[in-house]
């Protein structure tokens, strides 16, 4: 598998009235051809800003990409000119967003919103583009696509709108689809349908996917690799099964422990990690997780740990690197006892 995207040392800041927000702090990751990368982390951990930086869609001002490289198809996207970047967007890299309600333009028909991409990037005339748009809508499972293509977004349900977003994203057969929490705003059954849809289309088109979510459980059947973000950093990066089996970063362990497991007798949501993420304006010097970490040692408060390989392909940014598998086992055992 060839390397499709490689991000090195990405750093994004927002200059606000209260000070500089350190939203993304030296993030490096890659995506291979055909691979699906899952990105998890709490709200505000910098998932969206990282991906918007890759797309160069950070509002400027107040945002600024202060450092880094984004290698894609042999070019550093942060170095190419605006016009070249525009040709990458929607064509080579597509992005879909969380809220399909507000992500589509309310006053333009679905047809207009899909065909404009086809006309722009593939040079189709309007008839060709319309025919292709209908095919795309069918492909994402919109019934009666021939008629519904002339509707407006508000005439569709949330799930259908997200399908439209996907159709729009896939219109030009991008090499990479970045999906920023595309199912968060949908109810559970629709969520599963959308995940299945993206999986199917990914395999048909042979594209790579970056899937952002809060929900580690959702990634189990979808992602090949997962990166875990905290306070604008990647704190753990691992092949998906390895991560579930043997998480090494205390934050990831916490995340996994807060997933309700279907095979458990008690199904209530287990406690989330206590405490709050650090202030991104007054960024801490040591490990940003230290105030919430039950494994913290003195060093943690002074030096921020680098991301280091703990086993093949598995990286963690932690001075202590507890054996997650063991802890989780103990934790579950004690938890089941308590409830008996």
């Amino acid at each position: 598998m060839g390397r499709l995207l490689e991000v090195k040392n990405l750093e994004t800041r927002f200059h606000t009235q209260d000070g500089t927000v350190h939203a993304v702090n030296g993030v490096s990751f890659y995506v291979d051809e055909g691979e699906t990368l899952g990105v998890v982390g709490e709200s505000g951990s910098g998932k969206s800003v990282t991906m918007l930086s890759v797309m160069r869609l950070i509002p400027q001002p107040p945002g600024e990409i202060t450092n880094g490289e984004v290698w894609f198809e042999g070019r550093d996207l942060l170095k190419i000119d605006k016009e070249e970047m525009r040709e990458v967007r929607g064509n080579r890299i597509a992005m879909i967003f969380q809220d399909p309600m507000t992500s589509l333009n309310p006053v333009l028909t679905i047809e207009r919103q899909i065909t404009e991409v086809l006309e722009l990037h593939l040079g189709m005339n309007h008839q060709q583009a319309r025919a292709r748009a209908i095919e795309l809508l069918k492909m994402v499972g919109i019934p009666a696509a021939e008629e519904r293509i002339d509707s407006y977004p508000h005439q569709f349900s949330g799930g259908m709108r997200q399908r439209v977003m996907i159709a729009m994203g896939l219109a030009c057969h991008p090499r990479l689809l970045i999906a920023d929490e595309p199912t968060t705003a949908l109810d559970v059954t629709i969520q599963a349908q959308i995940v299945e849809l993206v999986k199917r289309l990914r395999d048909e088109i042979g594209m790579s996917v970056i899937w952002i979510t809060h929900d580690l459980a959702l990634l189990a059947g979808l992602a090949d690799r997962i990166i875990v973000m905290y306070a604008g950093q990647i704190v753990e990066s691992s092949p998906v099964h390895e991560l579930y089996k043997n998480p090494r970063h205390p934050y990831t362990i916490g995340l996994l422990q807060s997933i309700p497991r279907l095979d458990e007798k008690q199904r209530e949501r287990l406690q989330a990690i206590e405490g709050l993420p650090p202030d991104l304006i007054d960024y801490p010097t040591g490990c940003p997780f230290a105030p919430r970490c039950r494994f913290a040692i003195e060093k943690c408060w002074e030096v921020d740990p680098p991301l280091e390989e703990v086993s093949k392909g598995h990286y963690s940014a932690c001075w202590v690197k507890p054996e997650g598998a063991e802890i989780m086992h103990q934790w579950h055992a004690s938890n089941t006892e308590e409830s008996q």
Binding site: N105, P106, V107, E116, Y152, H154
Partner: protein, 310 residues
């Protein structure tokens, strides 16, 4: 939506009837008796009584009202009592209304054609000195009172430099119209410019605009196809108010520039207590606003699919 509009349309006559009745009642019980007004303060009470009978003023209120409505439906609003004694109100109204309508229509078009592009420009250059300059100009324009700016312009352009005629009405393609239009457009231009700018800046931060960028669209297309239309929709409400006031003449401007429009007519009618004229004017304004409201609703449905398909 269509059903809603039809309902509105059917409601309109009732609405107008109510407005007419209210003004009629006010006129009926209000101070000043038309017959007395006609004959003068110190006239013979018997003569006044006779005139009241002749004018039908001694009939019950509802009979008089029905009579008034019946005539009004045939375009007869009675005769002027004081300001132009004996002339049919409809004549007075026709002439001044045609002038005011033309003048205000020009003002409306100029305001839109100048105000909206100014707002777009400011939004495009937002937070640069060009934006600040435009918006400062707009604030100044909105806060200058007509009674101040009109005489100054008049003095400068008509008397000092002798570039433009001092006033009068010569149709919309004459040079006489330039000064009044400038004076009357300043406020609306400012309102349109500010609203357009604010709406555009708001729309540009919406998620669907980010989607448009993520699709790789040209900035021009994003601005003019994806953003502008959404930003202009709320302007319809302001437009509606202005459309409603098309029939309302500006007292001050019309008086200063000697334009015989509705504004001046109303001014004179009020001060000479010319009830038939006043009533007709009130009715006219009510019709104007009702029609404008309806038109705005239709326009909304036309430009905003979310409303069209309700």
């Amino acid at each position: 939506m269509t059903a809603y509009l039809v309902r509105r349309l059917l409601w309109m006559p009732f609405l107008l009837l109510i407005v007419t009745f209210l003004t009629f009642v006010l006129g009926y019980y209000g101070p000043g008796d038309p017959a007395q007004l006609l004959l003068g303060q110190h006239s013979n009470p018997e003569a006044v009584e006779r005139l009241r009978h002749e004018l039908g003023l001694d009939r019950p209120l509802l009979v008089q009202f029905a009579d008034y409505v019946w005539r009004a439906l045939h375009g007869d609003f009675g005769e002027s009592l004081t300001m132009a004694r004996g002339r049919p109100v409809s004549d007075l109204l026709k002439r001044s209304l045609s002038i005011t309508l033309q003048l205000n229509a020009v003002v409306l078009v100029v305001s839109l054609l100048v105000g909206v592009p100014l707002g777009v420009f400011a939004a495009l250059k937002r937070n640069t000195w060009l934006d600040y300059l435009t918006m400062t100009g707009v604030v100044v324009a909105i806060s200058l009172p007509t009674f101040l700016i009109a005489p100054i312009l008049l003095w400068l352009f008509a008397y000092k430099w002798r570039l433009l005629p001092p006033g009068g009405w010569n149709g919309i393609f004459s040079r006489n119209i330039i000064l009044p239009v400038i004076v009357m457009s300043a406020g609306p231009i400012a309102v349109f410019a500010r609203q357009t700018r604010a709406n555009l800046i708001d729309v540009l931060s919406q998620e669907y605009i980010r989607t448009a960028y993520a699709k790789g669209l040209h900035e021009r297309r994003i601005f003019f196809v994806h953003a502008l239309r959404n930003a202009l929709i709320p302007l319809l409400t302001i437009l509606g108010l202005m459309l409603g006031s098309l029939v309302v003449g500006s007292f001050i401007t019309e008086t200063i520039f000697g334009i015989p429009g509705v504004g001046r007519l109303a001014f004179q009618a009020f001060f000479s207590r010319d009830y038939p004229v006043i009533m007709a004017l009130v009715l006219l304004i009510a019709i104007g606003y009702a029609l404008a409201n309806l038109l705005v609703d239709i326009l909304y449905a036309f430009v905003d699919p979310r409303i069209r398909y309700q």
